[in-house]
Symmetry: C2
Amino acid sequence: MSYTETDLLSINTIRLLAIDAIAKSNSGHAGAPMGLAPLAHILFTRIMSFNPKNPKWINRDRFVLSNGHACMLQYALLHLSGYEVSMDDLKHFRSLDSKTPGHPEPHETPGVEVTTGPLGQGFANAVGLAIAGKHLAAEFNRPDFDIVNNYIYCIFGDGCAMEGIASEAASAAGHLQLNNLIAFYDDNHVTIDGDTNCAFREDVVMRFKAYGWHTEVVEDADRDLEGIEAAIRRCHKVSDKPCLISLRTTIGFGSKHQGTCSVHSGPLAADDVKAFKTNAGFDPEQSFIVPQEVEKVYQDRALEGSEKEKQWDKLFARYQQEHTEPGTDLTRRMADLLPDGWQKSLPTYSPKDKLIATRETSGLTLDSLQAVLPELMSGSADLTPSNNTRWPSAIDFQPPGLRLGKSNWSGRYVHYGVREHAMAAMMNGIAAYGCLIPSSGTFLNFMSYAAGAIRLSALSRMRVIYIATHDSIGLGQDGPTHQAVETLAHFRAIPNLMVWRPADGNETSAAYYVAMTSKQTPSMMVLSRQNLPQLENSIIEKAMRGGYVVAEVGESPAAITLVSTGSEVCICIDAALMLRDRHGVGSRVVSLPCWEMFDRQDKDYRLSVLLDGIPCLSVEVLSTYGWERYSHEQFGLNRFGASGAYKDVYKKFEFTPEGVVKRAMATIDYYKDAAPRSPVNRAFL
Amino acid sequence: MSYTETDLLSINTIRLLAIDAIAKSNSGHAGAPMGLAPLAHILFTRIMSFNPKNPKWINRDRFVLSNGHACMLQYALLHLSGYEVSMDDLKHFRSLDSKTPGHPEPHETPGVEVTTGPLGQGFANAVGLAIAGKHLAAEFNRPDFDIVNNYIYCIFGDGCAMEGIASEAASAAGHLQLNNLIAFYDDNHVTIDGDTNCAFREDVVMRFKAYGWHTEVVEDADRDLEGIEAAIRRCHKVSDKPCLISLRTTIGFGSKHQGTCSVHSGPLAADDVKAFKTNAGFDPEQSFIVPQEVEKVYQDRALEGSEKEKQWDKLFARYQQEHTEPGTDLTRRMADLLPDGWQKSLPTYSPKDKLIATRETSGLTLDSLQAVLPELMSGSADLTPSNNTRWPSAIDFQPPGLRLGKSNWSGRYVHYGVREHAMAAMMNGIAAYGCLIPSSGTFLNFMSYAAGAIRLSALSRMRVIYIATHDSIGLGQDGPTHQAVETLAHFRAIPNLMVWRPADGNETSAAYYVAMTSKQTPSMMVLSRQNLPQLENSIIEKAMRGGYVVAEVGESPAAITLVSTGSEVCICIDAALMLRDRHGVGSRVVSLPCWEMFDRQDKDYRLSVLLDGIPCLSVEVLSTYGWERYSHEQFGLNRFGASGAYKDVYKKFEFTPEGVVKRAMATIDYYKDAAPRSPVNRAFL
């Protein structure tokens, strides 16, 4: 079907909506929406399957705008297509508490799949979405039942192309042969600093070929609508590669300043807007106009989408009859429910159990859970044997035909490669797809490489589980380059991210329980390399509260509270015994594995843990930064670590019962004349 | 000159030293040193110019081992070449307080240029070193005076090749046509998770071609010594591209398990070690052996290096006579001294000056300083107009012939592209080269993308200046994806990193003064997008102390201290006036632009700023995480921000004088019966 005047009018309507919204808010980026309007129009009216009335339909095609600053493009399309994005929402673009924020966020705007704007993230999310699609197709599809067969369409610009995260993700996608992914490179030659020639002269298409992608080039994507569509349809025929379509576009197409960096950001000048409208056949005095024939094009397409979902519903109803077990499973997972009684699989431990690192208790937990949670999809950034992320029976997620052991697209273990940042963003994509819970690991220190994406897990409320092993100087010989110091402070300061540092196996199980049941919150499991004892009083139900009294030693009332996490809790318990035996001092030991959960407890409970009237000393072998919130005095590591056998390093920095006792006695002495208030008490909320 | 038995013996000696050291420490990575020994031997005996007696000679060739876990390779070569790395140091590999830590660190080991181990960093450092070399050559070389003409040699493995940071840096290097950079890809097909086929099947050589690199492939780099040398010599003839030499090697060459991931980490089995030694002609019962003829090869080469430096000294002596001005300048810079009186160029401001954002005062400072500090090299990750990092007269650092405005290799402004992580690591490389002070910008929120490299600036004590603008919800419409919340906590928690959040122009000048004079400490300038007033009592000398009393308002003694930074200080001053006028309450306002500097002041001073006996309320429009260290109560933003005009967003979250007053009154009320201790007082250090 060829393109008509109505299509051109539609494309200019998209441009007009972008221009008008950006003019009204006096903020935003018009250049990319104007340049990308032809592609977006084709995608939304001829290519993609979606139902605006049910943005959560599992088999919809996904659209990701990785250059999220171009979000007026997406908002305009969502509005035209009939999603719950009204003209009024467009008029409140970028204004406080609107549905149309400065960059796309899925929890704010129906039809937005992932949070984009921080460059490169959307592209890597798209690879994650494609992984999820491939995996669910392999898991659920049966002969005559293509339950999952959608595509992921992603637009990215020069900024994304330059970001390392996108390079990592593109390399992974090529390896994984994700042919359900079609990415469009908006090759417009303009960035904020000017012509891309000032910093970026590589051959992007050749680079993607090197990654193993199928590539297409559309030389005049401003005008060659047939060419764009034909390229997409050729990509649909590719069976073993992700596809790149490089589109030569003109940024700000239709503006007087098209093709220059002056149209990248900010509103167009009033006369430029008027000239554009006049040239495009609109009334230059009117704003936010959608011609009727354009409305109809999009309404018709929405009806087609609604019809497609109905057909899919019928297919799925038959599937549930013919394939009862997977049908029931998928139904449960689409409803975002965990299977009844799954938590009974959480391992429990007693003090008689052997010394074992929390990275190992984490591994045991994953192994138990994978058997009852088919939605669990694990992985590692090339530290599989160190992160304990792979259960013994795991099948690798790999393209068919790779013949690397037992592996195929139904596998639930992803070898992400040494690509921490993309791994995190791919997990965001997997979680965003639905029906899957991604968990993956690297060393705690290298979670920093993924900071940009981890923050977006929290902002976009994705249930993603980060497994951060080798969590301190306790990793020993690898030395300061690998020993986290500031990392806990960093991640604890991110809102809506649960950072767990369990002290033993039961606390590890508690962490996983809360992580799995927190549908809108990512979690990070911070785990030891070194072996630790199973504590006397650690109980899953207590640890779930984020903080609890794990030991009371010696005379009551106690003279001091020792508050600690992870591998230092057992040292504190030994210190408490030493305080009693050598100094006749009674003490309490508090384990505080998750501050975020502890803060959610009622005040009475928190006050019962961190008592009023006695001093509280925190003990954690990383930066003390932030610990003043839960303690009066702090013992930690406010410098970089050291390379050496782990016990030598702990000794050097006095992380021994003796070292704790020394500081506890100093603390008791300091507060002997003035009983301090509990850190829980505050002047205002 | 062909290769002899002595060369083969030398190569096996390197392998033996690596094996023995790793066996003794029972920790480390033998596989890569064994596979890379031939290349390293060629580099250190035939290619590189260096003087082990003066590891800081400015025109030495630089060697970067980006796969830093292979550090026993580097330590062995440094020992053999006669650097201050003794056989005893090798025997204490990875033990506490040794000169041979788990990964290379320049401040620990003479001859190590940059800190590597976190994958991809070294590669990007090497690109930075190459930028520095190209720039200094363009700045200082004159006809017949090739003062700077050294090469940067960098080895990297599959891990580095997968990391986004290395992709970013490689793309930048190709664009910049850095032909003084020769990178060796250790293509050994093995990573921790197994064969690279499990995650990494791209065509690395084609990818580098796409970046604009010259490429060479050596098919049998285990044996083809002539081939390796010939490839390097061909690269020396390349005039307009960085060079990649892809070496097909066998990991753990010589071990029974060579070519498998079992030789990647950990010591070789005892029988494997013995078999290796026997096969290589060593006594299997002896360890840490260097045959005399091998010693001689390296000693001869060291003498050649020493002689080369002597020749260079003569050349430079003549240069100083014939080219007095640059000669004097380079002499000063090699001595790591700033020019006399440079600080007189720091701008000063008075309250009469207009409202101006601190990103602008930062830009004005850079412009003033660049005129007196030719070592200052600025840049941005494609946010030049937003970061205010480019002074009006700047010349861009670009390859000759690009013809993008006025630009060439003598330029001091680098367009890093949208590559934050590589930018930070490239700056580490530039600083490591010497004679240059790099500074570059992005939004504060996107400094998180560079976290891995920023941490290494601090660990390796590099004077690098990060310019982090748009530092809060004050950036307005771009919304939560761009608004930093946790970021200050993250960077403040890094040891040896000075985080400055100046409140106005004078504080900005103070920040730059301290940054420039802190030779072993990186700094981050955290700067507002929005305009701010010039404060009444801000004085450079006071602000340099990291914290000071900027206002005392109303009755004395004050009932409360308001402690704040950056854009909230002026709000606190308005709140103090309101406390006086509406509530008759006296208060003090403390500006605390740099915690790291404040902590370095003596206790009396700190107590004079944060008084004993009155409550202290912190006010900062980011996470309150960490503020308990300097205040009793905290007002901040412990959630993600919002998209909207900045004043609307500030109002929404009550960052107004009224909002501060409300919390100040609650704080005063809460502490009325129990005067709190100053947060400066502690039970122990």
